[in-house]
């Protein structure tokens, strides 16, 4: 057993770990990044789906990348370029009547008018309120130091929204089922039901993000989210981070009740005064840290194993049929969710371990933005189904694939026939690949509370308030650790 001295060890080479490593190295520290698997990138991964087809697994669009990370680490120079900067949000409804939400407010009003005149009239005010509140709340989600108090009008709305469910909020503004359900889909992350209190704030959080200078949008980088991971890995190597793959960390070493390094599964010990874990708080404190070292009550308060999860399906398509009904851009982010009520039923069913009767899902067609991801004239589609039970049997998996294909076929007639191959990943398979998402949504704590643990020297660099590739937690974790965080 040899001990090599580093200034910091980062566990896990996902976006959070890579970002933390880059910032630590940038400030002159000697950093070791230990990744258990043989590839870097965590949830930002693309897989090959037969000859010439490349589909994103894990994340299939980016909406939360911190612009300061992109700028300060010069990710553009390391190969990160965006092909689609503001993806539209298209809620596909019955009979070709879709809710198409684009950046331009007037265009959106025109689109919604075909669903409901009243909703079209209400959209500008809703959009303005949502985005203004998001901007006002942005400092508390982007900055480590305590934010200035909010203006009174925003404080009132924020206090109210802490308890309001996304469903109640949207119900009070709009009448069209497909519009409400489409907007509410973003409030179903991490096992939330749109009927739970606080889910309205998830919509505000999403609107507080900024991609490519645009507020509250999703974007597609060239090469998919995997390109973000590649750019970060490149930046890390350029900064002198020592990256080791196939190096699983067994546990954190402690000395005098503080973190003092890590022990690898191979038996090697690495000494370092700072340890950053990009695993969830639960995995870090429950598995990596010595048993009970974080405090028994803290341990008991950690989130439970999630009962519901997301499934991912990637499809190789021989051709892309047009959408039924209203014209929608193929580069959009598509959501299939009929009504808010069916989302409640879906949540309940998934919670009970059944596939919901009405599936709610999101999908993108990366080849619409980047044709080179598939052979000429062919396409890939990436589908995210949420919620599904965390424990899915093989029969359920087959059933899910069939039902998703049928659901997409209902919106694009002929799609079922053009599927060349499909691969489905259940929540358990994704967890085995990436580690459990584990981190519950936590938009109310401040960064100190999310990143620091009760063990001095141990930081959580993947502790995003809402799970999504972002890098913000890594950047702030590095700053807190180096600044002698309290």
């Amino acid at each position: 057993m040899s001990a090599r001295a580093f200034d910091a060890v980062v566990v896990g080479a996902g976006v959070g770990g890579l970002t933390a490593a880059c910032y630590l190295a940038r400030s002159g520290r000697k950093v070791l990044l230990a990744e258990a698997r043989n590839r870097l990138g965590g949830r930002c991964e693309s897989i090959a789906l037969g000859e010439g087809f490349t589909a994103p697994l894990g994340a299939h669009e980016l909406h939360a990348l911190d612009p300061r990370v992109a700028r300060e680490l010069k990710l553009a120079r390391h190969g990160l370029k965006f092909v689609v900067r503001g993806m539209a949000l298209a809620g596909l409804g019955h009979g070709g009547r879709h809710a198409l939400i684009v950046r331009d407010v007037r265009d959106t009003v025109r689109n919604i008018a075909s669903l409901s005149r009243a909703d079209a009239d209400a959209w500008p005010a809703f959009h303005a309120e949502l985005f203004a509140l998001a901007r006002a709340l942005r400092p508390r989600w982007w900055e480590a130091r305590p934010p200035k108090p909010l203006a009174r009008r925003h404080q009132e709305v924020f206090e109210a929204l802490r308890h309001v469910s996304a469903a109640a909020w949207l119900d009070s503004r709009f009448e069209s089922d497909v519009l409400k359900a489409t907007l509410a889909f973003d409030a179903t992350v991490a096992g939330y039901s749109p009927y739970e209190p606080g889910s309205a704030l998830l919509l505000v959080w999403r609107a507080a993000q900024e991609m490519c200078g645009l507020q509250g949008v999703s974007a597609w980088p060239m090469g998919g989210p995997a390109a973000l991971a590649a750019a970060l890995a490149d930046a890390a190597k350029a900064q002198g981070v020592e990256i080791r793959t196939g190096a699983a960390v067994e546990h954190v070493l402690m000395q005098d009740e503080a973190a003092a390094g890590v022990a690898l599964a191979s038996g090697e010990s690495i000494a370092a005064p700072l340890v950053f874990s990009s695993l969830s708080r639960r995995a870090t404190l429950g598995r990596l840290a010595p048993a009970g070292a974080c405090g028994f009550e803290t341990l008991a308060a950690l989130a439970h194993e999630p009962v519901t999860g997301e499934a991912r399906i990637v499809l190789a398509l021989k051709s892309l049929p047009p959408f039924n009904g209203m014209a929608v851009p193929a580069t959009a982010r598509f959501v299939l969710a009929e009504r808010l009520e069916s989302q409640a039923a879906a949540w309940s069913a998934a919670h009970a371990g059944r596939l919901p009767d009405e599936l709610t899902l999101e999908f993108v067609i990366p080849t619409a933005a980047e044709a080179s991801l598939a052979p000429h004239g062919q396409h890939v589609a990436s589908v995210l189904v949420r919620p599904v039970p965390a424990a899915m049997s093989a029969a359920m998996k087959t059933q899910l694939t069939a039902r998703v294909t049928a659901a997409l076929d209902a919106q694009m007639s002929g799609l079922a026939g053009s599927v060349a191959s499909a691969e489905t990943f259940t929540p358990a398979e994704l967890a085995a690949r990436y580690g459990h998402p584990g981190n519950a949504v936590d938009i109310h704590s401040n960064w100190n509370q999310r990143i620091m643990t009760t063990i001095p020297g141990l930081y959580l660099c993947g502790a995003e308030p809402v799970p999504a590739p972002s890098g913000r937690a890594g950047r702030i974790a590095a700053a807190l650790a180096l600044g002698g965080g309290k």
Binding site: E156, A160, S165, A168, G198, A344, A345, A352
Partner: protein, 496 residues
């Protein structure tokens, strides 16, 4: 008891006019009259009592039609109204019994068990929240409904607003105990116990008081004994304003009562949306009132039995949960939201005549059933006679399954669906409790941010009852708080 006829009421001037002679209205009237204010209570029904009034649903058989119990009357209110002197004896807290065909599970209030401990903890939180409501109402400067909300300390029990009910119920013990706790908390509701925030149902209300004969009478006697006047058979239809302040209350027969203050114990929506013209309310207020969610989920079955069911005496006096199943509540809530009537609605039975023998003739019994997750409006239309019959038969079959032979003893069975409760009680959507139990509609958010005080943005208009935080947690509390506020405002000439 001096009751005015409408004719006498016309043209008289009062200091305060209370709408609704329920527990909160009558307690408010008693306190107002004691404070020396000329007070009248205006009640739509022929008898006072609101939810506490009993109905003779079959000759010789009486029951409280809308709910078996109201929120418990806290001791401070009981003493302030001197209800004991008016002859009221409240029954002790009821035990709860879950019955399945092959087994049973008890939760007794004074016998130690995790479930009973949970109930006691909730009771303590509820008491603390009621005390907090009093403190907030008394704190200067007074804060009107929907007004600015200063940063306030969290309310007792506020952490329940982030927890799923199922998690608290699971701590009660095995699956039977968990199902029992869920059934008790969700009686008459349609709430998914796995959703975060559903634990608020444990507080809504935590302690209940069975409605017994004499309750409505004692409350009315407390009011009239203090000098308030009671006008029955008079429906309030409009609050007339003069220079943005309350000036008079208009009744259905056209008569008007001049008054300086109006206290409405109607629910939030009924108060603002029926007593005022749409454009008479400030815009933001109207919007907030519209956004307040109220929709009944409870149906009631009142059954007259030829003989009491075959149960041990202790079980006869308990609240009986019919074969509760933890999974059913989540599915029922989802179905309710979609407007579908459940196949097997969650059900609680009470042999109310075992607690209060005066409700039924000698040797006979009154059985009430409270069904949860019953939609106000079905997704494919209204509650036709056919659908009512079907629900009635389903319920009777379920009752017969746990109490064999009951069906044969049925002399009469009256079903009330949410729409009937709406009509009979004047409660929007048939919601007996005055508003949905949800995290954004509890405590300081009930009925809206900053709504700790009974004062409203309309000068001279006050609100009490289930739509307020105190009103949900304890009967009579919001009424006494409103009375204190009104008395203080009128005496100081403050603009309410």
């Amino acid at each position: 008891m001096r009751a005015l006829s409408c004719a006498e009421g016309r043209g008289l001037r009062y200091d305060a006019c209370v709408i609704g002679a329920g527990a909160d209205g009558l307690s408010a009237a008693a306190m107002l009259a004691r404070a020396g204010l000329k007070t009248v209570v205006v009640e739509r029904g022929e008898q006072p009592g609101g939810r506490c009034a009993l109905r003779e649903f079959h000759p010789g058989f009486r029951a409280a039609p809308f709910t078996d119990s109201i929120a418990a009357i806290p001791p401070c209110v009981f003493r302030a109204l001197d209800l004991a002197r008016h002859g009221l004896v409240l029954p002790p807290p009821q035990a709860s019994l879950s019955m399945w065909p092959d087994r049973a599970h008890w939760i007794r209030p004074h016998r130690p068990s995790p479930a009973a401990a949970l109930a006691q903890e909730m009771s303590r939180l509820s008491d603390a929240a009621i005390a907090r409501g009093r403190d907030d109402a008394a704190a200067p400067p007074h804060r009107p409904l929907f007004g600015r909300a200063p940063a306030a300390a969290p309310w007792p029990g506020e952490d329940l607003l982030a927890q799923p009910l199922a998690e608290r119920a699971r701590a009660a013990g095995d699956t039977d105990a968990m199902a029992h706790v869920l059934a008790a908390a969700l009686e008459g509701h349609a709430i998914d116990p796995d959703l975060r925030g559903s634990a608020a149902a444990l507080l809504a209300p935590a302690a209940r008081c069975l409605i017994v004969p004499g309750l409505a009478e004692a409350l009315a006697a407390a009011a009239t004994g203090a000098g308030a006047e009671l006008m029955a058979g008079a429906e309030a239809t409009e609050v007339r304003l003069l220079k943005d302040r309350v000036a008079a209350l208009v009744l259905a027969d056209g008569g008007a009562i001049e008054t300086r203050a109006v206290l409405s114990t109607l629910d939030l929506k009924r108060t603002f949306l029926t007593l005022f013209a749409w454009d008479a309310l400030p815009k933001p207020l109207a919007g907030r009132v519209q956004a307040f969610r109220m929709e009944g989920a409870c149906a009631r079955l009142l059954i007259a039995l030829d003989r009491p069911p075959a149960l041990a005496p202790e079980a006869m006096r308990a609240g009986i949960r019919v074969a509760p199943d933890a999974r059913v509540f989540a599915d029922a809530a989802a179905a309710w939201r979609a407007g579908m009537a459940p196949e097997r609605p969650p059900m609680t039975l009470r042999v109310v005549s075992a607690v209060a023998p005066a409700l039924a003739p000698a040797g006979k019994a009154v059985l009430t059933a409270t069904l949860g997750a019953i939609p106000h409006r079905l997704f494919d239309g209204a509650w036709t006679n056919e659908r009512r019959e079907k629900l009635r038969d389903t319920a009777l079959a379920m009752i017969d399954a746990v109490l064999p032979g009951t069906r044969d003893a049925v002399l009469a069975a009256e079903l009330l669906v949410p729409a009937d409760i709406e009509e009979g009680l004047g409660a929007t959507g048939g919601d007996v409790w005055g508003g949905e139990i949800a995290a954004d509609q509890m405590f300081a958010m009930r009925p809206g941010l900053g709504a700790a005080a009974p004062r409203t943005p309309v000068g001279g208009l006050y609100l009490a009852g289930g739509s307020t935080a105190s009103g949900l947690l304890g009967a009579g509390v919001s009424g006494t708080l409103a009375a204190e506020a009104i008395a203080a405002d009128l005496k100081n000439g403050r603009r309410g």
